[in-house]
């Protein structure tokens, strides 16, 4: 589906991503982990096709990303960005409706079908009661769920999520990840999700990509990547990994 080959991205001449090659299979959840500043957000933004690439290529279904028009791209890839400021004066429903942009005519006219999809997306993230509220009045976690609904309303085969759980409480973290998991399994959505919480990554990801200082340190199954030795080295803090008592996935415990 989505593939990066020898991808290098630089800001003001300073490389932020160095020589990254990774590909995503249809229907898989790939978690992106790594310390602050390791390039997780930049990689997500680059893969969404909006950053100038210094070196290497990004391709989508074997076609170069740069060959896609923005509207075509937006029918393939939806993004939930991280920690952004939302225009406060749109309602949650209006915000989600912007996800329908790639399907609108040049006047931006919305149909009843668009509205139905937007409401269904809000429902999926448990935010339908917020539909009429202004974004400026919502909490960070509520805004985050509305943003996910907007990405779902885009009806794309690929979803890029940049720390979608950072402002969420425990219950909403788990329901959001369960939803993402279900979408990947049932609807064959391909998901790339940057996560700070290594245990969420361990539990829900099919594969994990570990970034360190803009380089891809390792990629593979959670049990292979999330080892005490690897994490202690990359994060600069002693880490132990044990088996999760309920579901057997790796459980990361900082020492």
């Amino acid at each position: 589906m989505l593939k990066a080959e020898n991808l290098t991205v630089a800001y003001h001449g300073r490389p932020v991503l160095k020589n990254i090659s990774l590909g995503m299979e249809k229907g898989e959840i790939l978690a992106l982990v790594g310390p602050n500043g390791s390039g997780k957000s930049t990689l997500i933004r680059a893969l969404s096709g909006i950053l100038p690439v210094s070196h290497g290529t990004i391709s989508l279904s074997d076609r170069l990303m740069s060959a896609f028009r923005p509207v075509e791209r937006a029918r393939q890839i939806a993004v939930v960005p991280q920690g952004i400021q939302m225009p406060p004066a749109f309602s949650a429903l209006e915000t989600v409706l912007f996800g329908r942009t790639p399907y609108l005519n040049f006047l931006g006219q919305l149909s009843a079908e668009d509205e139905r999809i937007a409401r269904a997306s809000l429902e999926q993230v448990d935010a339908l009661p917020l539909a009429g509220r202004l974004m400026g009045e919502l909490s960070g976690g509520e805004q985050q769920r509305v943003l996910l609904a907007r990405a779902l309303a885009q009806c794309t085969p690929i979803l890029l999520l940049d720390e979608p759980t950072s402002h969420l409480d425990l219950q909403h973290q788990m329901t959001l990840m369960e939803l993402v998991y279900k979408l990947a399994r049932e609807c064959e959505l391909t998901v790339l999700v940057a996560l700070h919480d290594l245990n969420l990554a361990a539990r829900y990801a099919d594969r994990i990509a570990l970034l360190e200082s803009g380089e891809l340190k390792a990629i593979g199954a959670p049990a292979d990547i999330l080892t005490g030795e690897m994490l202690s080295q990359v994060y600069g803090w002693p880490v132990q990994v044990v088996k999760h008592p309920f579901n057997g996935t790796p459980l990361v415990l900082p020492g």
Binding site: R45, S48, G49, I50, R69, P70, V71, R73, A74, R75, I77, A78, V79, P81, I84, Q85, M86, P87, P88, A89, F90, E94, F98, G99, T101, P102, L104, F106, L107, G108, L134, G136, Q154
Partner: protein, 330 residues
């Protein structure tokens, strides 16, 4: 539909006042007679058709242009204080217009078009300069926007004053014009104005959805499928086109493009698909009312229109600044 109906109602009232009131008051009955062509009173007929109607039409179009472009600049810069006057586009366009006026164009339609064209080129250059100076990363903060606007505006105004001092005769007339006195171009001015607005205003109205998306920032707008580069170019060119046309025929009238979009946003919400057309209609109405005021305050003399809008607009500007400082929603 309610916002449109109310705005149109105010606009109709403003049109009526603007036609009836002035140094000579035309009573309603005579007004109707003169409009329908059955007027017995020749004086009223002349005043109406040669003075009041062309002036009313001009003010309506200028107000619509300034307010519509003001709303678009606010959306484009994601800044509530953007206004053709404050960000220096109006002064830049003014300089272009005066430059064109200093050449003796024949008094024909083509001659009349030279002034708005020069104003457009200079206005567009100014907005691009302001944008490149004021930009910090992907956004345009209020402080840098206003400072860059003030600096470029002062520069353009100084050059304009210099041009006017150096020239004798012809450009003296331009002083009254620069203060927002409406030029006495009659129907010709309106004919020259219309092509600019016929391109600019529809382009702005059609950019409503793009402006909405740009409120999320360039990155998200692009991720949602907007060709941001093209959309911004269309908006900048269209807004500068309408601003320049307004400046070329009515001088520098500040604050209309600031106040009206604000009031519309406050009453009817932030959706640019609605905000732009409403600002256009309400801007026309507001400038007509300001012009009526300019005609009656020190009658039989007239105040330059720019003075009226600045006196009303500056306090409003300070009020918004205060609210923005306190982190208020806009």
């Amino acid at each position: 539909m309610r916002p449109y109906l109310l705005t149109l109602l105010v606009l109709a009232l403003a049109l009526l006042l603007s036609i009836a009131i002035g140094s000579v008051f035309i009573p309603p009955a005579e007004l109707w007679a003169a409009l329908s062509g059955s007027g017995a009173n020749g004086t009223f007929n002349t005043i109406l058709w040669n003075i009041r109607l062309p002036r009313t039409a001009l003010i309506l179009l200028v107000g619509a242009a300034l307010s519509g472009s003001g709303a678009a600049y606010q959306g484009l810069f994601r800044n509530p204080l953007a206004d053709p006057y404050l960000i220096g586009v109006a002064s830049g366009a003014g300089l272009g217009a005066v430059l064109a006026m200093s050449v003796q164009w024949p008094y024909t339609l083509a001659g009349l078009m030279a002034v708005p064209l020069a104003a457009f080129v200079a206005g567009l250059l100014t907005v691009l300069l302001v944008y490149s100076f004021a930009r910090v990363g992907g956004s345009v903060p209020t402080t840098t926007l206003i400072l860059a606007g003030v600096a470029l505006s002062s520069f353009a105004t100084a050059l304009t004053s210099f041009l006017m001092l150096r020239s004798s005769g012809e450009l003296r007339r331009a002083l009254g014009w620069l203060l927002g006195g409406v030029s006495q171009g009659g129907w010709d001015a309106i004919l020259a104005l219309i092509p600019f607005l016929a391109i600019g205003l529809p382009a702005l109205i059609l950019s409503g959805h793009a402006l909405n998306l740009l409120q999320f920032g360039d990155e998200q707008a692009a991720q949602l499928g907007l060709d941001t580069r093209r959309a911004k170019l269309v908006i900048i060119v269209a807004a500068s086109l309408t601003t320049a046309a307004a400046v070329a025929f009515a001088g520098i009238i500040g604050f209309v493009g600031l106040i009206i979009p604000h009031v519309m946003r406050f009453w009817w919400g932030a959706d640019y698909r609605r905000l732009i057309p409403l600002s256009i209609l309400a801007g026309g109405a507001a400038l007509l009312l300001a012009d009526v005021l300019a005609r009656v305050v020190i009658a039989p003399q007239e105040l330059p229109l720019g003075i009226v809008t600045a006196l009303a607009g500056s306090p409003f500007f300070l009020w918004i600044l205060r609210r923005a400082k306190m982190g208020g929603n806009w």
